[in-house]
Amino acid sequence: MPFQRFVESGRIAYVSDGQYKGKLVAIVDIIDQNRVLVDGPASNVPRCEMRLNELHLTKFRIRFSYTGSTRVVRKAWEAANINDLWKETMWARKVEAKKKRLELSDFDRFKLRKAKQIRNKLRTDVFYRLKKKVKKAKTTSASKKAEKK
């Protein structure tokens, strides 16, 4: 499968490192192989250059005229509804979950562990019950077949 996401003007990227870590920016212009000009009017990132190895490309792309000003980028961003679309992605939810997990205190972590134990216990119980049922059904059907023969 060919590449789907390209470094191109209008591509929305997730900042993975540096001062603006965890924010969304739009690529405005490409400076060279390693650096791009980005702008994040909706995430409080001023127009600046960023290294490409601290950007992760998302599937979103907004359309604005080539090297548009911040105002133009903001307009396109809001028109495309990027903030809401991003929140619905699995990626954003995982980021959110990770943040939540980091915030847990020792007691919270303990409670989570206990809750998971209870859930897993319930799940395995159900699983074994089903397994038993299937096994029983199989053996009865097999015995019936044997009787017919």
């Binding site: 980091l102 915030e103 205190s105 020792d106 007691f107 303990f110 409670k111 206990k114």
Partner: protein
């Protein structure tokens, strides 16, 4: 502020000659006419200052140098008597007659005894905080911090009923304070529970005459009745305090469980 003052002085200067101004000025600090605006940028440029200072008045003028008469250091003295060379050059200011052979004794600040040391307590440690013990026989256990003793050590209890950690002293360096806290306000710890209470009692060695010194067996530690009674008093209160908590059931299991790290958990990255 500074700006207005600058104007005033400049006006004054126009009227009076600089020499007069010096006389008229009152004592105290004089603010410089030109000042730094920040980043090395000054309020007035060189040309502005040239005119403000009226440097043009002094160009080409030279004030005559006042030459101070030099004071002599030595003096020539006549010496009477023959074979004395008649005269000698003598210092007006006599040199010191003697110099110290040793360095002077400097005053050292007095060293403080251990009991006078200032005790610190981490702000995360407050009475009722649940701590994780990191050292000693009970390491890994979650215990309740009660108070700081005079020696700076923490008084801690399991409670004994929950995780078999008795009333104990621990250094705060060997403890992780968690953010979980039990409300133990109103807890009165018996006054006799202090550092001496926890001190190890050592029996004196048997004298040479009294049998073999190696034959004596080591006594195993057993808590005396006093300790048991104190443990009961404190634990009763602490357990009652836990029971008053909303999550009492979870807290009981939490305290009875040991602390441990799982894979990809790093204590310096965790929040406690």
């Amino acid at each position: 502020m500074a700006d207005t003052e600058v104007k005033e002085t400049s006006v004054q200067e126009n009227k009076n000659t600089p020499a007069e101004m010096k006389k008229g000025r009152k004592g105290g600090r004089i603010r410089p006419r030109n000042y730094d605006l920040g980043n090395g940028v000054y309020r007035f440029s060189r040309t502005r200052m040239f005119h403000k200072k009226a440097v043009y008045k002094f160009i080409g003028k030279k004030t005559p140098k006042t030459v101070k008469p030099k004071k002599p250091i030595t003096i020539e003295k006549k010496i009477s008597g023959d074979k004395n060379g008649e005269k000698r050059i003598v210092l007006l200011k006599k040199r010191r007659a003697n110099y110290p052979t040793e360095d002077p004794v400097t005053v050292h600040h007095s060293k403080k005894c251990f009991r006078d040391h200032r005790r610190y307590l981490r702000p995360s440690l407050k009475p009722g905080t649940i701590c994780i013990l990191l050292a000693g026989i009970h390491k890994g256990k979650r215990v309740v911090f009660l108070k700081q003793l005079k020696s700076g050590l923490l008084l801690v209890t399991g409670p004994f009923l929950i995780n078999a950690c008795p009333l104990r002293r621990v250094s705060q360096n060997y403890v992780i304070a968690t953010s979980t806290r039990i409300n133990v306000s109103g807890l009165k710890i018996p006054a006799h529970i202090n550092d001496d209470y926890f001190k190890r009692k050592r029996e004196k060695r048997a004298k040479k005459e009294e049998g073999d010194i190696f034959s004596k067996k080591k006594d195993e530690y057993k808590p005396n009745d006093q300790r048991k009674a104190d443990q009961n008093v404190v634990d009763k209160f602490v357990i009652a305090a836990i029971k008053r908590n909303k999550e009492k059931k979870m807290l009981f299991t939490y305290l009875s469980a040991m602390f441990g790290l799982r894979s990809s958990q790093y204590p310096h990255r965790l929040k406690f």
